[in-house]
Amino acid sequence: MADDALALELRGITKKFPGVVANDRIDFDLRRGEVHALLGENGAGKSTLMNVLYGLYHPDEGEIRIGGELVSMGSPKDAIAHGIGMVHQHFMLIPVMTVAENIVLGTEPRREGAILDLGAAEKRVRELSVRYGLAVDPRARIRNISVGRQQRVEILKALYRDAEILILDEPTAVLTPQEATELFKVLRSLADEGMSIIFISHKLNEVLSIADRITVLRRGKKIETLPTKDATEAGLAKLMVGREVLLRVDKTAADPGATMLRIDDLVVADDRGLAAVRGVSLEVRAGEIVGIAGVDGNGQTELIDAITGLRRPASGRIEIAGRDLTSADARQVLDEGLGHIPEDRQARGLVLEFTLAENLALEDYRRPPDSRWGWLFPARLIARARRLLREFDVRGGGPSARAAALSGGNQQKVVIAREVGRDPRVLVAAQPTRGLDVGAIEYVHKRLIAVRDEGKAVLLISLELDEILSLSDRILVLYEGGIVGEYGPETPEEELGVAMTGGGRKVAAA
């Protein structure tokens, strides 16, 4: 029964949670030296399956074989002992410690039984990083290195523990396109060295470019395992979602009207007092979507904060529909007709402990009909919520359900319902589809186009170049706090990528 080429075999894995079968008799196998992608929407059961494999969950049924041998995973310790390494989506690193210290943590090399031998640790880390082409400085502190580097440290951590099977959970979610490309190179060379890799993702293009085989999960069930050469984006999307999905948003040409948002020579300081936005000027007109592309940390957050009244600009001017709102606070800006979909819906967009009705009232609670003279009318909040939830197709709970109980896609719909439901003149959408699955992304994109077609000005800030390209009527590239160029929607991705990393020509923004 043991297949020599199989590094790992999962048979009939079933894992139930109260009310949900997260994994329903899933079979999965991994050959030596292959990259096997596990594809599925949020909630499809990918992470549950991997947590079962990594010993974090105990399966209700099913068996795990490693190298043909039946094993039982009591805890991550067992998994590590069987040569399984996992790189979580959110890193498990200690920021103040060095790369080498993080890598050896828990299995530190010792001298004379008790003394930590850092020299040996650094040497070993250096060897590994040379052997697998994962360049990192063992002495650098984690907090001082980029997210891409931190991910390498996580991979090195697994290699240091002699992992032969590497699980990567949504590894590109935190990376820039460049970093993702580098990661793929590293993964390919690891696979060539004989490492077996499980790559969890819900992004089709990634899976197609890195995997040898692809297994698609949907609602806890395995749908199909197929070689990458037989797969197409559209085909995979259909397997994932269970129906045809529009990957590219249909939209007509923009018909821009009057300028709704005007920013002039804006300078904004970050939390440390350094200029993060350096002289940005831009305009967004009614009926168009302007996309701001850029690698994370080039001033996006500060720019959004300044527009939405959460951060006072050092200089420059911000106008909404002709009114100067440079030094207005968040409430004034919202009342002047700005809608804001924040980049982190759980931290900034929603009060998770509040009901949906309360969340939908978060900006309007203090005026009629929600309240009068400081007196709140909960029944009216609920009535409005009922209407908005229906209009924006929010599922998973009624007006009295807590926001925390909803899936990510539905949480985002609640935020959109609130912001769009206020009928804003300008909508600022920051990373509106981050962490959402294909179906939910399709919905959000359609909504944004609809908002544009209603004649509102939309400013889209996203790290996803695909998203920028498919939604924007004009694209501005933000690099080191300045706009380095304006591009049309048909611009090739490579050209934008170059501009995003500082190689673009300097063009005065419209």
Binding site: Y57, L310, E353, L376, G409, G435
Partner: protein
């Protein structure tokens, strides 16, 4: 939009702020855990009694229970017992009254994500201002005089806590530190005000370090029991009314909405245009107002005079301001819960006072400390039940919370 599978909710697990974490445990534990907690605390307290006195703890508990006067509700007790029970119950409710208010003070701040640990100082501030107003302006007629004393006393508490709220809102000074420091300012201020040659020292007898007596017409009306033996005054109804006010402010006003939003997620509240700093300030001020009100009511209800020892002797853990923390925790910040928790602690304080326990069986020092003991155990177990629920959930899911929250499934 596709029919999304019933995905495990993203926000599962305890939240990031104190208030949201608390709400999580409240849902997880319901009303059962505080009850079990209390019973367990009494059980351990009983073991201690057994160990120290080698007497049956049941009889001690019976003595405590009868001392609380709660047996007044039993239809079968004799007429003579009922008179005694009524008197005991009045004493219990006298102690319950300020505990409701100091419990509300802690709970209200808690809903904004703040920990007002200075209830004792705010209570003292309310007492001081209350005794000052009620003992001066003797020309005023009773009712407006009482109202004025209550208003100014509550304001004193509000102002004191408001300082902490203001500091938190403007420079980010943590309210736990500032409220404790403000406590001591008030305690020593009382020492100066009512001490030798102090500006508010009694004019009756210069060797006494206390205030003047409050005007007789400012005594709160006793509606149950004998005023000479200190029956129950109308302040009890004020406290109960405040429970209703607490619920209404939080659930039916825009201010309460803001405070709850800020308590659960200050960042999202700020993004939605809510003035987080204003909410911090107001939440602390209102919180202090409740504690200040407790102070005035005690002065007008049964103390009638305030001494330096009264104020400074209350710096310990058994004082009503500090007990308010236990009341709010055990009552889980809900109006109904706070009522019963205050009643429990009021009953404990009264039931374990040494006049109810046979000194031959039970040493008076132990009696006094039994309340503290049980109070401490309740707090310990509240802390522990949060821990137990946490561990239980964590065990059931095996995976630690951080992993579960961040994984994509």
């Amino acid at each position: 939009m596709l029919a999304t599978p019933p995905a495990p909710p993203e926000g599962e697990g305890p939240g990031e702020t104190v208030a949201s974490r608390f709400a999580f445990y409240q849902r997880a534990g319901g009303v059962l855990t505080p009850l079990v907690t209390t019973v367990f605390a009494f059980f351990i307290g009983g073991l201690v009694v057994l160990l120290i006195t080698h007497k049956n703890p049941i009889s001690t508990y019976k003595a405590i229970f009868n001392g609380t006067g709660l047996n007044w509700f039993f239809p079968w007790i004799s007429h003579a017992d009922r008179i005694n029970a009524a008197f005991n119950l009045q004493s219990t409710l006298l102690l319950t009254t300020p505990l409701i208010l100091t419990g509300l003070a802690v709970a209200f701040a808690f809903r904004a994500g703040l920990f007002n640990i200075g209830g004792q100082g705010q209570y003292a501030a309310g007492s001081i201002v209350g005794v000052w107003v009620a003992s001066s302006l003797t020309g005023m007629s009773g009712f407006p005089h009482i109202v004025l004393a209550i208003l100014l006393g509550s304001l004193a508490g509000a102002g004191l806590a408001g300082i902490a709220g203001f500091l938190r809102a403007t420079v980010g000074a943590h309210e736990v530190i500032t409220t404790i420091m403000l406590n001591w300012i008030v305690f020593w201020l009382a020492g100066w005000l009512f001490g030798q040659q102090g500006p508010l020292q009694t004019s009756r007898e210069r060797s006494l370090t206390q205030s003047n007596d409050i005007a007789p017409n400012t005594h709160l009306h006793v509606w149950w029991g004998n005023p000479i033996l200190q029956g129950l005054h109308v302040g009890f109804f004020i406290a109960v009314a405040m429970l209703v006010v607490y619920w209404i402010v939080l659930n039916r006003t825009t201010l309460g909405y803001e405070i709850r939003a800020v308590g659960y997620n200050p960042e999202a509240a700020g993004y939605a245009g809510i003035d987080v700093r204003r909410a911090y300030f107001l939440a602390m001020a209102i919180s202090g107002g409740f504690a200040g009100l407790a102070g005035v009511i005690d002065v007008l209800g049964w103390k009638f005079v305030l001494s330096v020892d009264d104020v400074q002797g209350q710096a310990g853990a058994g004082a009503v301001g500090f007990l308010g923390i236990a009341v709010a925790l055990l009552g889980r910040n809900s109006a109904v819960g706070i009522f019963f928790a205050a009643l429990l602690f009021g009953a404990l304080l009264n039931g374990t006072s040494d006049r109810h326990l046979d000194p031959a069986v039970f040493p008076p020092t132990l009696a006094e400390n039994l309340t503290l003991l049980i109070q401490g155990l309740v707090l310990l177990f509240i802390g522990a039940d949060i821990l137990v629920i946490y561990l239980w959930r964590a065990r059931r899911r095996v995976v630690p919370r951080k992993l579960a929250r961040t994984s994509s499934t």
